[in-house]
Symmetry: C2
Subunit: 429 residues, 2 copies
């Protein structure tokens, strides 16, 4: 690979002029593209027509064990839904509780409950602690960090390595600082670095010593079946590792079908071990009588088991793969010669992580916005929305069509070149 | 009406012997009836077949304003769902937020958020107050009181009058005690006294002075369209009254379709005014990306508007009315001659309130349980589950068939006679 730094100043200025002219052309096109969120596309959603027809007969609303899904009851969810998620997240079905359509809501509830009541082994409710902190792998999921911000929990960023967070750093912090009550993890196709945690890192998360007796891992397993290729992400059961380590209260594991069926109408789950399961079940029974069991029934009828899910997800992969590959090849084609950025090549999930070497992420995103392409705001995925390096950009290629995506990524590359060139020219001045 | 007290001791003993013999007969029947919760019956649920078929075509998942209900977005719910509940609870649609299937969950969330963050005009989060109290009309809804208990909020019982709580008492407490942050109200067909609040009481709730600057009325409007007869419960808009009184932060209004469509698969809402609306919307946007909009779409297509809902509810009334009338006539027939109990004759809702004059509610319920008929536990609907008078029993006649109901109520009357006779005989001894 050559580098922008190899070019002479006149060449840099000439290149900047060319890219600016291209940018001006884009601005004239009156684009209106939104690549800010990881939304499934219409094409994906339409693969789930069977879900809409899975429960249509009033005489056919019973579970195998005779629960009428239309009525009250089964506060932790119907058996089959608990078993389905049990397979997906590798936790016994008895430990699984089914929620509504949003797993984020279940995460919020755990933190909220920890604040007011504490979790297993908490010396006191977290709100009564002088300080509560969380480790936040970066780049990560902005909405995880918004929850912490809402509750005034301190955030400690730790870098991702390509196979999970820097575990030396995590262990150092967790073992020495008793204010550190938890860490967020997305073990498979992490939002948005794309990391799949290594087996060794998962083991370390389960076994590591914590200064806080009530330290938990908020383990958001939301992309675990979202492979882009034929190979499945195969990771050990975090729950089992924690039990083996004698830390059964540590794992709090979340998943949802938001990106298997409908983002706006799926089902979600949370699983706990040990005393934390008992505390959660108690809270659940005060909090709600039942979540939507009819929708649980629809889901178990259509998704059936892990094997069926994997088969269905092939259909999604076929839609998503070309999008990811388009972005990666466009990056290679337009930026590969300049050594000014790198990007992840995830094997699954919803995002590509794009990192600038010389440019400013804020500047690039703002240029794109001005030309009508909305990207995830700079700093999203970092605590308090602050990426001190100003270099990370989250690419969410799932929603736009291939044509739109090509347009958006071309523009992004142009803006990246402009920002990088301006910075390199300024450096050399 | 004659009275048990008019009978001679020998007659009392003879009657007790007769009733005990009847009770023994019941015990031999091996009954298994559950009348403990206000569940809709299968017959009712089956009237909602159209809901299961309201959204079955993947090309037909858009709202009128173009929102794809299958995807993320519209965090406060789809416009039509907000408008539908707006009509039901008499609050502008902009003030309505749609939740999942459980309005209880929305209530829990409000109290939880008040604990961690406070509400509009809160001097501090409630959890940082020395003491927080709530007025709890009795008999009321046990799950309301469980939420308060879970958060360690003190409960002050105030008696129901037949048209809402004793407002003199409520005003006295609320105006003088700044620890009193709220009151629970079920304004129409109250669970489980059956009260419909008078217009004057609703006005007083809106206008009364409160010592706490952040006093709220948790206004659970869950039975507002659940009329048993042709006449609709017609109450003024509490929201409007509060606004007129300059107390726009006071009303927090809940409703759900749990008993219009499916108890296990409906939709719910909460509405706020003033600054409390802004705070709630902010919390909602951190808490979840979206609730199930496909189910919202199903509901607006089927329920349409208030007029359509009233029409649909006639179907339910036709199923429920004979059950309520059976209970009332059985009570009259078996107990009317003894003046040992009274009972509500509600015009809607899900419950009959049964009150013993001489008997022990605990004893009666335990006798029924022993004979195989499960009733709502004694004390449910009272703070901490304690009915000091030991006289109230909640009758939930909706779920059993007419035959089962006749059996259960006959048994209840026998047990009431036994307990009353034993107490009267002991009194006279």
């Amino acid at each position: 690979m050559s580098s922008l730094l190899d070019l002479k100043k006149t060449e840099l200025i000439e290149l900047l002029k060319t890219e600016k002219a291209k940018y001006d052309e884009f601005c004239k096109r009156g684009l209106h593209l939104d690549m800010s969120r990881g939304n499934p596309s219409k094409e994906q959603l339409s693969l789930n027509g069977d879900l809409l027809n899975a429960v249509t007969d009033p005489d056919d609303c019973l579970t195998d064990d005779g629960i009428d899904c239309r009525n009250y009851g089964a506060p932790y969810g119907i058996r089959q839904a608990r078993e389905l998620f049990s397979e997906i997240i590798q936790v016994p079905a008895d430990n699984v509780i089914i929620g509504g359509s949003s797993s984020l809501n279940l995460m919020f509830d755990v933190i909220s409950r920890a604040m007011t009541h504490g979790l297993a082994n908490s010396p006191r409710p977290w709100i009564k602690e002088e300080k509560v902190s969380f480790i936040c792998p970066v780049p990560g999921y902005d909405r995880h960090y918004k929850i912490l911000e809402y509750f005034g929990i301190d955030m400690i960023p730790v870098c991702m390595t390509g196979e999970g967070p820097d575990m030396d750093e995590v262990e150092r912090i967790v073992s020495s600082d008793s204010s550190v009550k938890g860490i967020w993890c997305i073990p498979v196709y992490s939002n948005y670095s794309g990391d799949v945690y290594s087996a060794s890192n998962i083991k370390r998360l389960a076994y590591m010593k914590s200064a806080a007796p009530d330290f938990v891992v908020m383990y958001d397993d939301s992309y675990t079946v979202h492979d882009l290729y034929d190979q499945y992400a195969d990771i050990p059961s975090f729950y089992k590792e924690c039990c083996n380590a004698g830390n059964e209260n540590r794992p709090i594991i979340f998943a949802s079908t938001s990106k298997m069926t409908f983002a706006g109408g799926g089902i979600s789950c949370v699983a706990f071990g040990g005393e934390n399961l008992r505390l959660a079940q108690n809270a659940f029974s005060v909090q709600a009588i039942t979540h939507d069991k009819v929708n649980q029934l629809r889901h178990v009828r259509v998704l059936k088991d892990l094997q069926t899910i994997h088969k269905r997800m092939h259909g999604f992969a076929d839609i998503l793969r070309p999008k990811f590959e388009l972005v990666e090849s466009k990056f290679g084609e337009m930026l590969g010669n300049y050594d000014i950025a790198d990007w992840s090549r995830p094997l699954g999930g919803y995002f590509i992580c794009f990192r600038l070497k010389y440019g400013s992420a804020r500047k690039v995103i703002s240029l794109c916005n001005l030309a009508g392409v909305k990207l995830t705001p700079a700093g999203a995925g970092f605590p308090y929305g602050i990426d001190e390096s100003d270099s990370y950009i989250r690419i969410a290629p799932t929603y736009p069509s291939l044509d739109e995506l090509e347009t958006a990524v071309t523009l992004l590359c142009i803006c990246t070149l402009i920002s990088s060139l301006e910075n390199v020219i300024a450096m050399e001045a």
